[in-house]
């Protein structure tokens, strides 16, 4: 069941359909769990779906396959997104998704690599994924393994100083097998990112740190695919995709609402949200 042999999904229409399915699963998981991070799981869904299903080589039956591409969800609170994707990819039976946030569940509130095979490293404390991604890319380089490493960060997350330590490392060691994504949804728990602790100008900051920077609409599948292709073609430096996204994307009453950063939908909200996604 190696995805390479199964075939990747590169058709834009199919990927959009898949992203819809993933959003529905996220909402179902969160509603069943009764808690969790809705807004940031939905904002990063299109990019994550494109990375997993159009780009990455992996084998759900052999999660430690040494030639697999690596995916690190540095913004670990979007765990429901990762679990929905992994369930779809066949890492575990889909009914496992109902165990989100339950005692002794492989689906911990934030990704835990010792609980769930296929999670590359535990995340949740923000700002740490890019360092681990660098380490993986350097290790793969020592083995002459061309596997690629993807790392999705939140925009609020990059307020963490370690992100910029790691950003220097990626450029210093010319890690061009690394593609980072900033899920730029503009909101963090306490309010708008620019109001809490400004991170602008994002493009210039990453460029100044020696990165190849691509700005896209993070919900436009054509733009996402073309950015991922461009990242793959870029040699001698790491690439960051700054994906302008909408927090809570796909459900009108969640969109751009800071209140839904860390709150799960109620059953009534869930019913309405499902309808919107079906019609969207």
């Amino acid at each position: 069941m190696n995805v390479t042999t199964k075939g990747k999904i590169t058709d834009v229409h199919d990927l959009k359909k898949l992203a819809k399915k993933i959003r529905l699963r996220i909402l179902h998981m969160l509603t069943t769990a009764g808690s969790g991070h809705t807004g940031g799981s939905l904002s990063a869904a299109d990019v994550a779906v494109a990375i997993y299903f159009s780009k990455m080589n992996f084998d759900p039956k052999n999660p430690l396959w040494k030639d697999r591409d690596r995916f690190i969800l540095s913004k670990g609170h979007a765990a429901p997104l990762l679990y929905a994707i992994m369930g779809e990819a066949g890492y575990f039976p889909l009914d496992t998704l109902n165990l989100l946030r339950k005692v002794e569940s492989p689906l911990q509130g934030h990704p835990c690599c010792t609980s769930l095979p296929g999670i590359e490293v535990s995340t949740g404390s923000l700002g740490q994924g890019l360092s681990v991604a660098n380490g993986m890319a350097l290790g793969l380089r020592l083995d002459n393994n061309p596997a690629r490493v993807y790392c999705i960060m939140g925009d609020g997350e990059i307020q963490e100083g370690q992100v910029w330590e790691a950003a220097m490392t990626s450029a210093h060691y010319k890690i061009d097998t690394l593609c980072a994504v900033v899920d730029n949804n503009g909101l963090q728990i306490d309010g708008p990112v620019q109001k809490i602790m400004g991170i602008a100008p994002l493009h210039d900051k990453w460029a100044a740190f020696g990165w190849h920077v691509i700005d896209i609409n993070g919900h436009n599948m054509e733009q996402i695919l073309s950015a991922l292709d461009e990242a793959e073609r870029t040699k001698g430096k790491p690439t960051v995709i700054i994906a302008k996204t909408t927090k809570g994307k796909g459900v009108s009453f969640f969109e751009d609402k800071v209140e839904y950063h860390g709150v799960a939908p109620s059953s009534e909200e869930y019913e309405k949200a499902v309808k919107e996604i079906h019609n969207g």
């Binding site: 590359e120 740490q128 681990v132 380490g135 350097l138």
Partner: protein, 335 residues
């Protein structure tokens, strides 16, 4: 009878290797110097060993490895948090990363990174820190790690080791290379006398018993083992039978050996170049209070920061000499 036998075994060992375990071939040596040499030696044998440092490779001695294997050495600049995450990533691709810097920065600056990406993720990262304790000397409190063992000991999955001398350091570094899982090793800046026998093989979780005493047993780690040994010699002149245990693995603690010692002497003294809060003294007290309560006296840094000065003067200032141990033992025995 058994005691006497053990005692004579110790004295013959002393005569063989000198009062401090030194010989003309074994002159006092810093554990960090030994680390640099052993890491180089292991690097020649194993291509999966990689090393990381945060701009202190000349002091931690990873510079020897760096010079021999530049492609397997990663200088991370002055960025300890990034160093730990990168080490975890390297471990996750099957490498055995040795990440080194001063103990205070390694464990303090990057504690959450160690917690999440090393311990919680259970990655095969070897944290080998140098400049532990007050014998850092003149640089003063900002550079003296006195809380590192407490910080590392509290983390699930972590093994914590404090070698007593260069020979033990060599054995420790080789042993942890073959052990899979997070390890913290605390090394020192200053030269230390040899303590362990020539043919000593370190085992994780196994204390080295120099002697079990019937009046008191001193459980020590790191540089304090040699102070404890000298204290035992001084005490024996006053007819006090003091044992010395080198508890180089602080986690997991060698409870069996501790129990044996406590049952024999009914008084335990701990000696460490670390805060009395959270380190060896705490670990020993926790174990004994639950398993075989006997009086315990902790020698260490008394809940304070260090200060600048030559290391031998600092040891006196903080009450970490053999004479201080003797005084503590005698006071405790009077009670």
């Amino acid at each position: 009878m058994g005691e006497r036998k053990q005692q004579s075994a110790v004295s013959s060992q002393q005569s063989a290797v000198g009062a401090y375990g030194n010989t003309p071939e074994r002159k006092p040596k810093a554990t960090r110097d030994e680390y640099g040499e052993v890491l180089l030696e292991l690097g020649e044998k194993r291509s999966d060993i990689v090393a990381l440092d945060a701009d202190l490779s000349c002091s931690t001695k990873t510079n020897k490895f760096a010079k021999a294997f530049p492609e397997r050495f990663f200088n991370m600049g002055i960025a300890e948090q990034d160093m730990i995450g990168t080490a975890a990533g390297l471990a996750l691709t099957g490498k055995i990363p040795f990440a080194s810097t001063f103990a205070v920065f390694e464990t303090g600056r990057a504690w959450d990174q160690i917690r999440l990406t090393v311990c919680y993720s259970n990655t095969n990262v070897k944290l080998v820190a140098t400049h532990g304790g007050i014998t850092v000397g003149e640089d003063g409190a900002s550079h003296q790690a006195l809380e590192d063992i407490a910080l590392m000991r509290a983390l699930p999955n972590m093994t914590v080791i404090v070698p007593a001398d260069a020979a033990e350091t060599a054995s420790v570094i080789k042993t942890i290379t073959d052990y899979k899982g997070p390890v913290y090793v605390r090394l020192g800046r200053a030269k230390v006398p040899y303590i362990v026998p020539d043919d000593y093989q370190f085992e994780i979780g196994k204390a080295l018993v120099l002697h079990i005493g019937k009046d008191v047993n001193i459980v020590a780690a790191g540089i304090m083992v040699s102070a404890a040994k000298r204290a035992a010699e001084l005490l024996s002149k006053d007819g006090i039978d003091a044992g010395v245990i080198n508890m180089s693995t602080i986690k997991p603690l060698d409870g069996a050996t501790l129990l044996k010692a406590a049952k024999k002497s009914k008084l335990i003294i701990t000696a460490e170049e670390h805060s009395i809060i959270g380190g060896l003294g705490s670990a020993v007290s926790e174990f004994l209070s639950e398993n075989y309560p006997v009086p315990v006296k902790r020698i260490g840094i008394q809940d304070t920061f260090g200060c600048s000065g030559p290391s031998d003067e600092l040891l006196k200032f903080h009450g970490l000499t053999a004479e201080d141990i003797v005084k503590t033992v005698k006071t405790a025995l009077k009670k």
